[in-house]
C-alpha cells in the first residue's frame, strides 16, 4: 500500500513539476514519502493525522511554522527532542508519544526500504539504457 502511494505520488510529481529546481523537487519527493507513509498507516494514529493536516495547511501554515520554530529552540530535554521528531508529538502526553513513536519508526524504516529498492531499480534501468547507448 505504502509503495503504491509512493510511486503514484512520484509519477504525479514527475508530471506536474518537470522543470522546477532540484531542491524543490527533492523536497516534494520527501513530502511524498511522508504522505505515503501516513496514508498507509491507520488513520487513528496521531502522527498520520499530523502529517496529512500539515499537508493540507502546507501553504497557509508556513508563517505559523516559522513562528513556532522560534519557540521550539528553547527546550532541549530528550523527551522534547522526541516530541519534535514525531509529527504531531507536541500535543501528546509521554505515554501516547511512545506508542506513536513505535508506529512511526516502523513505517519510517519500511519507507526507507521502499525508497532504496526504488532507487536501486531506477539505477539498474539507467545502466541498461546507457549500455544500450
Amino acid at each position: 500500500m505504502q509503495t503504491y502511494h509512493f510511486l503514484r505520488s512520484l509519477a504525479h510529481i514527475n508530471l506536474t513539476t518537470p522543470s522546477s529546481p532540484l531542491h524543490r523537487r527533492s523536497r516534494a519527493i520527501r513530502r511524498a514519502a511522508y504522505v505515503s507513509m501516513a496514508r498507509a498507516a491507520s488513520p487513528r494514529r496521531m502522527w498520520t493525522r499530523a502529517i496529512l493536516s500539515r499537508l493540507q495547511l502546507h501553504r497557509r501554515a508556513r508563517l505559523l511554522r516559522r513562528q513556532r520554530s522560534y519557540k521550539k529552540k528553547a527546550i532541549s530535554t530528550p523527551h522534547d527532542k522526541l516530541r519534535r521528531l514525531v509529527p504531531g508529538g507536541e500535543e501528546m502526553d509521554f505515554c501516547r508519544l511512545l506508542e506513536e513513536t513505535v508506529d512511526y519508526a516502523e513505517f519510517l524504516s519500511k519507507q526507507v526500504r521502499i525508497m532504496e529498492s526504488v532507487v536501486d531499480f531506477m539505477e539498474a534501468e539507467c545502466k541498461k539504457k546507457e549500455e544500450k547507448v
Binding site: L7, A33, A105, V112, M115, M122
Partner: protein, 314 residues
C-alpha cells in the same frame, strides 16, 4: 473519681473496638472482592492502602489497650483508695476481670493482628508498596493511574528497544531514549537523502529518455526483494563507475552525504560492521575520510577528498 465513669471509660473502648475491627475486616473483604475483579495492580494498590490502614489501626489498638490498662490501673488505684473491703474486693475482681478482659482482648487483637500481617505481609515484598502505603489514601486513584501509565511506558520502551537495532544492550531510560531519537533522526535523514538521490536519478533518466515509467515500476518494485543492505549500497556504486559527468558526480556526492549521515549514527555503523562483505579496516578508512569530509564543506576541497576516497576504495 467515680468508678462508674471509669468503668464506662474502660468499657467504651471495648464496645468501640470490635465494631471498628469488624468494619475494617468488612472493608478489607470488600476490597478483596473488588480487587479480584479489578486486577493485579489494584490488588497491590488496595493492599497497600489496607496495610496503611492496618498500621493505623494497630496504633489505635495499642493506644486503646494502653488506655485500658491505664483505666484498669485507675480502677485498682481508685479501689485501693476506697475503705470498704467488700466493695474493694468486688471492684478488684471487677478490675481483674476487666484486666483479664483486657488481656483477652489484647490476645484477640494480637491474633487479629497476627492474621493481618499474614495477609498484608505478602504484598510488601515488592518495594513500591511501601512507598504507596506511606503516601496514604488520598492519592489512591492518582497513584493507580500513575502506575498504569508507568507500566505502559515501560512496555513501550521495551517494544522500542526491540525495534531499534543495537538498543538492547543499552541500560537506562535516558540512554534508550537517546538511541531511539538517534535512530529516528537517522531514518528521517535517510528519507531526505534518498529523496534527493531519487530526484537525481530521475533527472538522469529524464535526460536519457522522457517520462517516468510508473506502471512498469509498480509491479517490479513490489517483487523486488526489500534491500536490507543499508550502507553497503554506496560503496557498491563506486565500483561500478560510469563516466565522469556532472550528474554522476552529483550522484556520488549525494551518496557521500548519505554515507556521512549513516555513519554519524552508531546503529548503522554497527550494522555496517556486522555486514562482512568488506573488511572492517576498509570501513574504518572510509569512515575516517568521510569524517574529514564532514569538516571540509567547500566544494573544491570536497572534490579533492573525494578523489582520495576513490583511491582508498580502489
Amino acid at each position: 473519681m467515680d468508678p462508674s465513669s471509669l468503668i464506662s471509660h474502660s468499657t467504651l473502648p471495648e464496645i468501640w473496638h470490635f465494631p471498628m475491627a469488624r468494619g475494617i475486616r468488612e472493608t478489607a473483604s470488600g476490597m478483596g472482592h473488588r480487587d479480584v475483579s479489578a486486577g493485579e495492580s489494584t490488588v497491590t494498590e488496595q493492599s497497600g492502602s489496607l496495610w496503611s490502614r492496618k498500621k493505623r489501626r494497630d496504633s489505635g489498638l495499642s493506644s486503646a489497650a494502653a488506655s485500658e490498662d491505664e483505666s484498669s490501673k485507675f480502677l485498682s488505684n481508685s479501689s485501693g483508695g476506697n475503705d470498704l473491703d467488700d466493695s474493694e474486693a468486688l471492684r478488684l475482681k471487677e478490675g481483674k476481670s476487666r484486666g483479664e478482659n483486657g488481656e483477652w482482648k489484647a490476645d484477640v487483637e494480637a491474633s487479629s493482628t497476627g492474621k493481618k500481617p499474614d495477609q498484608t505481609l505478602e504484598p510488601p515484598k515488592q518495594d513500591y508498596i511501601h512507598v504507596r502505603a506511606r503516601r496514604g489514601q488520598a492519592t489512591d486513584s492518582h497513584s493507580l493511574a500513575e502506575r498504569a501509565r508507568r507500566e505502559k511506558i515501560s512496555e513501550r520502551m521495551k517494544i522500542l528497544q526491540d525495534l531499534v537495532p543495537g538498543c538492547n544492550k543499552v541500560i537506562g531510560k535516558a540512554a534508550v531514549l537517546d538511541e531511539i531519537i538517534n535512530y529516528i533522526q537517522a531514518l528521517q535523514r535517510q528519507v531526505e537523502l534518498l529523496s534527493m538521490k531519487l530526484e537525481a536519478v530521475n533527472s538522469r533518466i529524464n535526460a536519457g529518455m522522457e517520462g517516468f515509467p510508473p506502471k512498469d515500476f509498480g509491479a517490479q518494485t513490489y517483487h523486488a526483494p526489500s534491500s536490507l543492505r543499508f550502507p553497503s549500497q554506496p560503496t557498491r556504486e563506486y565500483e561500478h563507475e560510469q563516466g565522469s559527468t556532472t550528474e554522476w558526480l552529483h550522484m556520488q556526492l549525494l551518496n557521500l552525504s548519505e554515507f556521512i549521515a549513516l555513519l554519524a549514527s552508531p546503529c548503522f555503523f554497527c550494522s555496517k560492521t556486522s555486514n562482512k562483505e568488506k573488511g572492517i579496516d576498509h570501513n574504518l578508512a572510509i569512515y575516517e575520510s568521510f569524517y574529514e569530509l564532514r569538516i571540509f564543506r567547500s566544494n573544491s576541497r570536497l572534490l579533492i577528498k573525494y578523489n582520495k576516497i576513490l583511491l582508498i576504495i580502489n
